[in-house]
């Protein structure tokens, strides 16, 4: 029977909320295995130091301490691998220094793991960790990218020539140079995309378990992609055959990218459990998370946009330095390159684009993908330089954008992508109306009467979701596939288990995927269960990141459902004594076309598993199908965001008084979940623009913003009540027509906010301001301008 209220397009309340809101989720740290021991990691307090010796004897002597491990205990194993190789301009491979599980003679950032204490309780482990005597000789720290690339700077890795990881390029340099040289107007901006600390609500946790009788390893971990961890850790680090390694990621409390990567702690607990014959658990605390979770962003960029007299874009040139941190995290090299510079066309017809990106090692925590991953950085520089060009040329910023929009699809950009669909004018128009853009000047004047500086800013972003296809990604350096897998297991009574390779850590997959299957099979939503996060239960899948789960994982599910329907038709044809070609499937019923002869889905399921009247000579019994789906292309969500701010000139405080988002995510399965994703992304984008700044002491390499006392996470009272709507142009290359919505807010919000702030400060002759736009920074601009005028 069709479930009319819980199919595609319905705002079904999230199934997951019942357990999460009641505190009944099952997170990794909620698990406790019999005989479990606890690991505490001794981390470097220095940004850069030689480790002369490690003496664990005092710690070992303490009651309850079981073991102290150093890098020597991991000598048989590989380092933490990087999953994406990028080549230099000359075709040579990037510098890829070893990322040891525990520091081997040198600590390269504050927080670098140096030793591990394993004890009978977390407190004993932590107390004992303070008694591990590490003798360090401090080395000069290179903290900023400028310091790292200075000719006098020593490489922080002994086996590389310099601190340059790679020097990469994309696009036609000569054509761009020529276009810029001959342009009517060139707008040049230097900007910083500020480093962020991810701060998932649940800190990372890992439990290693080893069964010496069978030789089976199990790793419970807070991962966005358990199969990726199984492959990376099994094949590249510990040489555990994959059939002997099970990775389980149960409920996971947020990831935002920071839980994609394979981290040393996962290898540590796996090895320790094997050595000690007991399960070993490590749980990060928040302080540890600040110095051990991969950070995000951290680019320094020069961007130039060339325009003709009428405002047509002629060329764009980017030169960026991207901070990798002390080592290469799993996907770090891809973020400022293939996930970034490929998006420099934005929504525009810019005919030629050239990007060069230098990736740099520094004595800081590793940097990798964080919500948006390269695309927020691209959107930020494009939308800031377009806005600045409009101001410089005296053209309305909305009209300048509209004039340069891509208007026909498919569209090949000069930076390697083919946008399949979109309607950028539609989202712009919708946003202009919803935000009452036309009425802004009256609001500005009213605010001025109250002594406030009001500004409006827009951003027209495009993102690319579901990195694909695997063969092209592989040619560009990806060391993994980028498909997704799903199994539809129809149970004998017609209920369904959906086994998906996607992983839900807040996205509501259990709801959305059930809606999808309920709709496609015409069966009750409540008879569908979604299983994810356990390599022993699901097909080999790539997990969830890059807003890929619906476009890639959802398509795999749909393809598997189609196989179920196809087999069901064969069974129905047999039961109904009709030709298979005459069987139609609709609303959960297999019907002989044009007759009232039909069999409900549940009866077909039962027949498949109790095959007494079944074409056994032609068809296998059972009803379970698997599909692997490798997309032909990325999907390209896009939209226009309009932000309105009021600045208090006395204090420099920015208040976001309204924020409207018009997005095109393609077809939408659950509008409520999509709206929630947009809200969350916007809050993170606003956080980057106004609040979040990761600050290192440039001499010592200590993380100054190392806790919530100094690192400003956005809170409810920092953001307005959002206004959001959507337009739909369907993706042309997946059967659902879906695009993805997880990162859009974090991509489009920062430039919208910053453009609004620059607009509000238009009386103060300010061209650019780096994020986060703190009250102190804004006050300084106002104060200096006022002092100069006086």
């Amino acid at each position: 029977m069709t479930d009319n209220n819980r199919g595609i397009g319905e705002a079904v309340v999230r199934r997951e909320d019942s357990r999460f809101l009641q505190g009944r989720g099952q997170y990794t740290d909620d698990m406790n295995l019999a005989g479990q021991l606890f690991a505490c990691i001794v981390r470097s307090q220095h940004a850069h130091a030689t480790i002369n010796s490690i003496d664990g004897s005092a710690a070992m002597a303490m009651d309850g301490v079981v073991s102290v491990l150093t890098h020597e205990d991991f000598a048989a194993y590989g380092g933490v691998p990087c999953g994406w190789g990028v080549n230099n301009k000359d075709g040579s491979p990037m510098a890829e220094p070893k990322h040891p599980i525990l520091a081997e003679g040198v600590a390269r950032h504050v927080g670098d793991p140096v030793a591990v204490v394993i004890a009978e309780s977390p407190i004993i482990a932590r107390n004992a960790a303070e008694h591990v005597q590490v003798s360090y000789s401090e080395l000069p720290a290179v903290v900023s990218m400028q310091q790292a690339l200075d000719a006098s700077a020593k490489p922080i890795h002994g086996d590389t020539e310099s601190n340059l990881c790679f020097d990469w390029e994309l696009g036609d340099r000569e054509a761009v140079d020529q276009a810029i040289a001959g342009a009517h107007h060139v707008t040049k901006l230097e900007l910083i995309n500020n480093r962020l600390v991810p701060n998932a609500m649940e800190p990372r946790c890992a439990i290693g378990d080893y069964n010496s009788a069978t030789g089976d390893h199990t790793l419970y971990t807070t991962s966005q992609n358990p199969h990726v961890i199984r492959l990376l850790m099994g094949a590249f680090v510990l040489q555990i055959p994959e059939h002997k390694l099970r990775v389980v990621s149960p409920d996971v409390g947020g990831g935002f990218g920071s839980k994609i990567y394979h981290y040393a702690e996962e290898a540590i607990v796996t090895v320790a459990a094997m050595k000690l014959g007991k399960p070993v658990k490590w749980t990060s605390d928040r302080t540890e998370a600040f110095i051990s979770d991969a950070h995000g962003r951290d680019h320094i960029t020069t961007v130039e946009l060339a325009l003709d007299r009428e405002g047509n874009f002629l060329a764009l040139r980017e030169s960026t330095h991207a901070n990798m941190g002390a080592y290469l995290s799993t996907f770090a090299p891809a973020v400022p390159t293939y996930l970034h510079s490929t998006l420099l066309a934005g929504q525009y017809r810019t005919p030629v684009i050239y990007a060069e990106v230098k990736a740099v090692f520094t004595n800081t925590v590793v940097v990798d993908a964080y919500r948006g991953a390269g695309r927020p950085e691209a959107s930020y520089l494009v939308e800031r330089v377009v806005e600045t060009a409009a101001r410089e040329m005296g053209i309305d910023p909305v009209e300048l954008r509209r004039k340069n929009f891509i208007k026909s699809f498919p569209h090949d950009t000069p930076v390697a992508l083919t946008y399949d669909s979109g309607d950028y004018a539609a989202t712009l128009d919708q946003a202009m109306i919803a935000s009452d853009y036309a009425g802004f000047e009256a609001r500005r004047a009213e605010a001025k009467q109250r002594g406030k500086l009001r500004g409006i800013g827009i951003a027209c972003y495009v993102e690319a979701c579901g990195v694909a296809p695997s063969n092209i990604a592989g040619a560009l350096g990806a060391r993994a596939g980028l498909y997704e897998a799903a199994t539809i297991r129809v149970n004998p009574t017609g209920s369904i288990s959906v086994l998906t390779g996607s992983h839900s850590h807040g996205q509501g997959h259990e709801t959305t995927f059930s809606q999808l299957v309920a709709d496609k099979l015409g069966i009750d939503y409540d008879s569908i269960d979604v299983v994810h996060g356990d390599t022993n239960r699901i097909p080999f899948g790539m997990g969830t990141y890059g807003s890929r789960s619906l476009a890639v994982g959802g398509t795999a599910i749909v393809n598997a459902v189609d196989k179920i329907i196809a087999k069901g038709k064969k069974i129905a044809a047999h039961l109904l004594e009709a030709s298979e070609a005459d069987i139609e499937f609709e609303n959960g019923e297999f019907r002989v076309a044009g007759t009232d002869k039909m069999k409900p889905f549940a009866e077909i399921a039962l027949t498949a598993y109790v095959p007494h009247n079944f074409p056994l000579e032609e068809l296998e019994p059972g009803l379970e199908e698997t599909a692997f789906y490798d997309p032909k292309n990325f999907t390209f969500p896009a939209g226009t965001y309009v932000c309105e701010v009021e600045i208090d000139p006395d204090t420099g405080t920015t208040e976001i008084v309204s924020f409207h988002a018009s997005d095109d995510f393609g077809r939408i399965i659950n509008p409520m979940i999509v709206e929630g994703q947009v809200h969350g992304g916007l809050v993170q984008g606003i956080g980057q623009a106004l609040l979040e700044g990761c600050v290192y002491d440039t001499d010592s390499g200590q993380l100054i913003s190392g806790s919530y006392m100094d690192y400003t996470m956005p809170r409810a009272d920092d953001v307005p009540s959002f206004s959001v709507d959507t337009c739909v142009t369907e993706c042309t290359h997946n059967p659902l027509g879906v695009k993805g919505c997880g990162e859009a807010g974090a991509i489009g919000a920062p430039p919208a906010v910053m453009n609004a702030i620059i607009d509000a400060l238009s009386d103060y002759n300010v061209r650019h301001l780096d994020m986060p736009a703190t009250p102190n920074k804004i006050w300084s601009i106002i104060h200096k301008a006022s002092a100069a005028a006086a």
Partner: protein, 262 residues
């Protein structure tokens, strides 16, 4: 957290004598600063003397004063009808401390004894000319706060109450740190029987009065009278959120807003 021994005091004398004999004893009131500090292993007292068993909570009017017991929570001060009627600025200040959890555990005695340079209460105490009553004596607020996290309290001295003279009018304006929500600058302005008082927290190492603003307001009690008084930035706090110059500027802005709110 390191191991420590715990003693729930049955009386003020019990608390005092336990503290006096402890090697490194600390009083535990609401624990909103002490416990996180201990959890981060930045403090390691050997003995915690818990004051929650001693009846030192409550708010009462005594003549022209409002006396707030040392163990009174911020939430109790914020919601007290007596405080709201007599010193609404004090109730509003308490309502703006931390978050609901902190306000329902944290106490005025604990806050004052900790003397955090960015705490709100010190501005109210100095701004209103309050008296800190201890197990030994009574001190004026200005005598009490001696520096950054420093007070005049002796090793075994325990705050029992804070007595606030009811002012003619008062207001507190705070510019919060966006991360911690402590005061980057907080200014408490009061018209009292002994004249106008302007007390500043957050900006310096400890709460201080601004005599120039007090004099300016005495002759012209208006926001403009203080807004443009230049505050010397030398010696003011400086961190990743606010430079000393910015803090100096904010003192004038917050003072002016406090006056406007009165």
């Amino acid at each position: 957290m390191y191991e420590f021994s715990y003693h729930k005091a049955s009386s003020l004398e019990d608390a005092r004598s336990t503290l006096a004999t402890a090697e490194d004893g600390k009083l535990l009131a609401g624990g909103m600063t002490l416990l996180p500090t201990m959890k981060q292993r930045l403090a390691a007292p050997t003995v915690l003397v818990d004051l929650t068993g001693i009846d030192m909570a409550g708010i009462e009017g005594k003549g022209d004063n409002i006396v707030v017991g040392a163990m009174t929570t911020h939430a109790a001060v914020a919601s007290s009808s007596l405080v709201q009627q007599t010193i609404p600025a004090l109730a509003a200040l308490a309502e703006g401390i931390g978050d609901p959890q902190v306000r329902n555990r944290g106490t005025i005695g604990g806050s004052v004894a900790n003397a955090d340079p960015a705490a709100d209460y010190p501005a109210a105490l100095v701004g209103l000319g309050a008296t800190v009553v201890t197990s030994k004596r009574s001190l004026s607020a200005e005598e009490f706060f001696t520096g950054m996290f420093e007070t005049a309290l002796a090793e075994d001295e325990i705050i029992t109450a804070v007595s606030f003279p009811v002012p003619e009018a008062a207001a507190y304006q705070k510019f919060p740190n966006p991360a911690s929500r402590y005061a980057i600058v907080g200014v408490f302005v009061a018209k009292t029987a002994n004249g106008i008082r302007v007390a500043v927290t957050g900006a310096g190492g400890s709460v201080f009065r601004n005599a120039e603003m007090e004099q300016a307001l005495a002759s012209n009690f208006s926001p403009d009278a203080v807004k443009n008084i230049a505050v010397d930035s030398s010696g003011l706090n400086e961190d990743i959120h606010a430079s000393a110059e910015y803090r100096a500027h904010l003192v004038g802005v917050m003072a002016s807003r406090a006056v406007a709110a009165m």
